[in-house]
């Protein structure tokens, strides 16, 4: 693919040609129309809705959105549930460093020409191609008060307080949901890291072994620095995904117990579609806040990695 990338498209006819132009736009038309209608228009109209009163009775009567300036944002930041949900989404970012380091470590483990390695790689990827609804079914059994997690921990004498309903306690539900995100993600990032690991010259690793570096030292002193560009990319993807977490929450806890797993997009979804609210204006405003936070975090992510690398990756 890289070879093809380097080859420039041959300028068959470098001069302007009506025929080529018309043909090109005819071929591009379906994609452009669909992208405009379902990607760009929602972005513009959704942003506009954030500054309006829309939905509920107003929507039912067929009235257009009514401009109310920043009122939605005032409502949002006075709503304890929104603040909780935004806080939970930010707290969810804890999964990012854990997931990235674990995926990189797993990639290092399977990046050897040893028996059964293709099997391990494939098996680790199976959760990635598993639907969230199946994950919900299976993990609810695991987390059940009578489920396997309690059985294993009990057998190891790690449950001094007795069996726990992991998704039913406001102290554990958040982490239980996060573990499902981790479970569905590590195989995906492992594959991305595997591609990056192929680029580390073997001599470097061998030299370190000869110098007596332990596996732990080699991981932190060679693998991590050499993989910085890939780690940056994966952390970025992972950060945005974590901030936008919704499906896991929706299928596992629906935001509960006691709003302990209520995330920002759960708030957006809930305001717009759950119950009898249909408050599209407020929901869009909440979405805008999440988008701004996501943008800020992406910039921060870039800065962090550029500065710590010292040479500007």
């Amino acid at each position: 693919m890289t070879r093809a990338q380097r080859r420039r498209p041959a300028p068959a006819r470098s001069a302007f040609s009506w025929r080529d132009t018309l043909l090109s736009y005819a071929f591009l038309a379906p994609a452009l129309i669909l992208l405009t209608l379902f990607t760009f228009y929602p972005l513009a109209y959704g942003s506009y809705l954030g500054f309006t009163e829309y939905g509920g009775a107003r929507f039912g009567q067929g009235l257009p959105p009514k401009w109310i300036g920043l009122d939605n944002f005032r409502t949002l930041f006075a709503d304890p549930l929104f603040l909780t949900s935004l806080g939970n989404s930010v707290k969810y970012l804890i999964v990012v460093p854990v997931l990235q380091l674990a995926s990189l470590a797993v990639a290092v483990l399977v990046n050897k020409n040893l028996p059964a390695m293709p099997f391990f790689r494939a098996a680790y990827y199976v959760p990635v191609v598993t639907s969230i609804s199946l994950a919900a079914v299976m993990w609810e059994w695991v987390y059940n008060k009578d489920g396997t997690l309690n059985w294993v921990l009990g057998a190891l004498h790690l449950l001094p307080g007795g069996a726990v309903g992991w998704l039913n306690s406001e102290y554990t539900a958040f982490w239980a949901v996060m573990l499902v995100t981790f479970w569905r993600g590590f195989g995906y990032y492992m594959v991305l890291y595997l591609a990056g690991l192929q680029g580390i010259p073997e001599e470097l690793e061998e030299a370190a072994v000869l110098d007596g570096a332990s596996a732990w030292q080699r991981f932190w002193k060679i693998t991590v620095p050499m993989m910085k560009p890939t780690i940056l990319l994966c952390s970025l993807l992972s950060t945005i995904a974590a901030l936008r977490v919704l499906e896991e929450v929706l299928v596992l806890t629906n935001g509960g117990p006691l709003n302990s797993t209520y995330t920002a997009l759960m708030y957006v979804y809930s305001k717009a579609f759950q119950g009898f609210n249909f408050d599209y204006g407020l929901a869009s405003a909440a979405g805008l806040v999440v988008a701004v936070v996501a943008l800020a975090l992406s910039v921060a992510n870039f800065r962090l990695f550029r500065d710590s690398s010292g040479e500007g990756t």
């Binding site: 132009t21 994609a31 452009l32 992208l35 929602p42 959704g46 954030g50 009578d146 030292q217 996501a294």
Partner: protein
């Protein structure tokens, strides 16, 4: 810590190979632990699904529930009959087939001029498509639902499909593939008087089958598994829901029959698992082209 691992000069070769063997064992132990974490839920679900429930067993009876004594396929038949699972299987197939075909057609059409023609506005269109990768999509689902309502597509399979088929991933994947087709071949075809549509369907597409297959497979797996979007679009039309949405509903309905739920879940998982095992190499390449 480092003092322990630093090799003593003049180490006898024996000790070195011992340590190597130890390291190898350690690697496989770690790999096995990760393996258990990754696949345990599936193994347990499989065990539950094939358990003969007439023996009066509980799914929470450990470790017995992991090693069913009496095995049966009855749960699969039962869930298929009592829940009309066939209907949802059909819905999943309909949505997935439409999405795969739509994605392939739209992506190939858009990629062809981007790979092969020079025309005014090309760079702008390129930038527009790249932009979709980084634009925030937090409110998209709200507006798209409203749009579908206006178009009369809310609660239909087409409503689930149409908003998802145009995407940067597919367009770039196909463009990359088209760039790899030798120009001489196209020039020869043009000299023979072939139209652009003929060139696309007779030369470009046959020569880029691997990329088409990759795009088709990624789309297939993603669509089959998708939960949130079809749930939203079809919330008022429960009979049109795909398996991914129905399985969770099944959970409410069969609250006291986990054996049937497990069987239903596996019916849903099976096609994706088969596709994944058959086309592993596509997934394991890590979408390199798309990421670069």
């Amino acid at each position: 810590m480092s003092a322990v691992t630093r090799p003593i000069p003049l180490t006898v070769p024996r000790r070195k190979s011992n340590r190597k063997a130890l390291r190898l064992v350690l690697r496989y132990v770690l790999l096995t632990l990760v393996l258990i974490f990754a696949v345990f839920p599936f193994v347990w679900t499989l065990a539950i699904a094939i358990t003969d429930k007439r023996a009066g067993t509980s799914i929470y009876d450990f470790p017995a529930s992991l090693f069913p004594k009496a095995v049966t396929l009855n749960n699969f038949l039962e869930v298929y009959r009592t829940f009309e699972l066939g209907k949802y299987v059909w819905n999943s197939i309909s949505i997935t087939v439409l999405t795969v075909i739509g994605t392939l057609v739209v992506s190939a059409l858009a990629a062809y001029p981007l790979a092969r023609f020079r025309f005014p506005g090309r760079n702008i269109i390129f930038a527009i498509i790249v932009a979709t990768l980084v634009l925030p999509g937090e409110t998209t689902f709200i507006v798209n639902t409203l749009t579908l309502k206006k178009l009369g597509l809310l609660g239909t399979h087409l409503g689930v499909v149409i908003p998802t088929i145009a995407g940067a991933f597919g367009i770039f994947l196909m463009r990359q593939a088209f760039l790899g087709v030798p120009t001489a071949l196209l020039e020869a075809a043009r000299l023979d008087g072939a139209g652009e549509m003929t060139i696309l369907t007779r030369i470009m597409l046959p020569l880029t089958k691997p990329s088409l297959a990759a795009l088709g497979i990624f789309t297939l797996v993603g669509t089959w598994n998708a939960y949130f979007w079809p749930m939203l679009v079809l919330s008022a039309a429960p009979d049109k829901a795909p398996l991914s949405v129905a399985v969770l509903r099944l959970k409410g309905q069969f609250n006291y029959d986990p054996f049937n739920i497990a069987a239903g879940s596996l019916i849903m998982m099976l096609p994706v698992l088969l596709v994944f095992l058959a086309a592993q190499r596509y997934f394991m390449k890590g979408m390199e082209g798309a990421v670069k």
